[in-house]
């Protein structure tokens, strides 16, 4: 029989239990109020109590993340293909793509809101901005990772530049692109929650908007509940992208 220490499930389960115990202990021994540190059963209770509002929040944030994710992967892939086709364009644009990435997302969010006003389009745009760069960076690396001999093979058979791009570089880049898309999937959730904190509205309340409104009314357990759902959403998103086969679907 395998010992408990070798099992894959046991160590994280044990650490998890210890953390929960420490959580309750902290609350008890520091004599904290519930609104400072809600404990797990209070958070579960808050999820149940706020289930309708939270479900709406999950739906809104999911849609915004999905929109941002698809925009980031579509435009990221398109830009990468264009930049691969032309060295001049690559040299010209790449510094600015990098520049876009080093601006903190919070600052981007503030600027986007002044352009687009608060609302769903602004939130999707923020989610797009944050996921775009990882897609471009990974896809570009993949498009340029073709082994020299495969390129020579294509040249030997006098392949056109477009054939080289779509029959050789794109399939080579596919797993790289998917890695970028996985990153974009989790970042898109971060982006849309950030966007909702800046630009959310009660008419269309996503998880980010709920977090600040619960906080304003000191419903800390519900803040924790919404936060946990954000994490869950990001994980589901990431897992879904992981399911895409890494072998390029080519005929």
């Amino acid at each position: 029989m395998k010992s408990l220490g070798q099992s894959r499930l046991f160590p994280p389960l044990l650490v998890g239990l210890l953390l929960v115990a420490a959580w309750y202990a902290l609350r008890h021994f520091l004599a904290l109020e519930a609104f400072r540190l809600p404990v797990p059963h209070e958070i579960l209770a808050a999820i149940w109590k706020e289930r309708q509002t939270l479900a709406g929040g999950v739906r809104v944030t999911f849609l915004a993340s999905l929109g941002g994710f698809f925009a980031a992967t579509f435009f990221g892939l398109a830009l990468s293909l264009i930049l691969t086709a032309s060295r001049t364009l690559r040299r010209g644009f790449l510094p600015f793509v990098v520049l876009m990435q080093v601006i903190p997302i919070i600052a981007t969010a503030a600027i986007v809101v002044t352009w687009l006003d608060a609302g769903f389009p602004a939130i999707i745009t923020i989610a797009f901005f944050i996921g775009f760069f990882p897609v471009v960076a990974n896809t570009l690396a993949g498009l340029r990772a073709v082994p020299a001999e495969q390129l020579e093979l294509f040249r030997l058979y006098k392949a056109t530049p477009l054939q080289e791009l779509f029959l050789l570089r794109l399939p080579t880049a596919w797993p790289y692109f998917l890695t970028g898309a996985q990153i974009a999937a989790t970042l898109a959730v971060i982006g849309s929650v950030t966007g909702e904190i800046f630009a959310g509205s009660s008419a269309n309340a996503g998880l980010g908007f709920l977090i600040i409104s619960y906080r304003a009314s000191f419903e800390t357990a519900a803040v924790f509940a919404a936060t946990a759902l954000c994490a869950l959403l990001a994980m589901v998103f990431w897992g879904a992208v992981r399911l895409v086969p890494t072998r390029f679907p080519a005929r």
Partner: protein
């Protein structure tokens, strides 16, 4: 004889990369149509470079390559086989073999027909739907060979194709290559580091040496009957291997 197997002659062939001293210079070589030439020489002496010049994937720095006596002739249909099979991992065997046809815009059903025939020719008829990572090393090399045969090339350039395979697979592929050659008789250049392989396959072993490299020795290999696996056990073959080895070591740098 393949109708398009070219007569090939190099005259004063020269190749230098950038400003570096030339890799090849004054390289003269004559090859009659349908012959198999084995190229031997020290590592880094320029064998792969010579094949690329003949294939036309690298520009010459000087001299000329004559196809059927003409310097400006259109290149014959040329196949190149690399040390690695160079299969695309996202394509199954059928689509890897038909890739060259696709690059020239042939219709899908025609591609399938030709690729299937080539696959059967190299014994991969049962593996058409398998991906490269599901094939053995020998099968991958066969797929590479089948792909090279799609256009019925007149000129076949092989750059240490079987160097990474085990000895048994390598010998079998040598025999299969000869059988394929017997059918179409492409003019063939075969780069190898193995004297036994060179002597088994070639009509002529060309030894490159010096810096820049030139042809330093040529060993004609003539055996009485058609070559098959049994040749390996014959005295005449062993003697030819011994002689070629001696002549190779006589010109290799110490």
């Amino acid at each position: 004889m393949h109708p398009l197997a070219p007569h090939i002659e190099t005259r004063g062939l020269r190749k230098a990369f950038g400003d570096q001293p030339p890799v090849l210079d004054g390289l003269d070589l004559v090859v009659e149509p349908g012959r198999i030439i084995a190229l031997l020489g020290a590592s880094g002496c320029g064998k792969s470079t010579l094949l690329r010049l003949i294939a036309g994937t690298l520009p010459l720095s000087g001299g000329a390559i004559l196809f059927n006596g003409e310097a400006q002739a259109e290149r014959p249909e040329t196949a190149f086989i690399f040390q690695d099979p160079v299969l695309l991992p996202w394509l199954d065997t059928l689509h890897n073999i038909s890739l060259p046809l696709r690059l020239r815009g042939m219709a899908a059903h025609e591609r399938r027909e030709i690729a299937t025939e080539r696959a059967c020719r190299v014994g991969l008829g049962e593996a058409l739907g398998r991906y490269p990572d599901e094939l053995s090393g020998g099968m991958r090399m066969r797929a590479s060979l089948a792909r090279a045969l799609t256009f019925s090339p007149g000129l076949m350039l092989l750059d240490e194709p079987f160097g990474a395979l085990d000895a048994i697979t390598r010998n079998r592929l040598n025999e299969e290559l000869l059988a394929l050659h017997a059918r179409e008789r492409w003019t063939t250049f075969f780069v190898t580091h193995s004297v036994t392989e060179a002597v088994f396959l070639a009509d002529r072993v060309v030894i490159l040496g010096g810096s820049p490299a030139r042809v330093v020795d040529v060993v004609e290999i003539a055996f009485a009957q058609a070559r098959s696996a049994s040749l390996r056990t014959q005295i005449a073959y062993q003697q030819a291997v011994a002689e070629t080895t001696a002549r190779l070591y006589a010109v290799l740098p110490a």
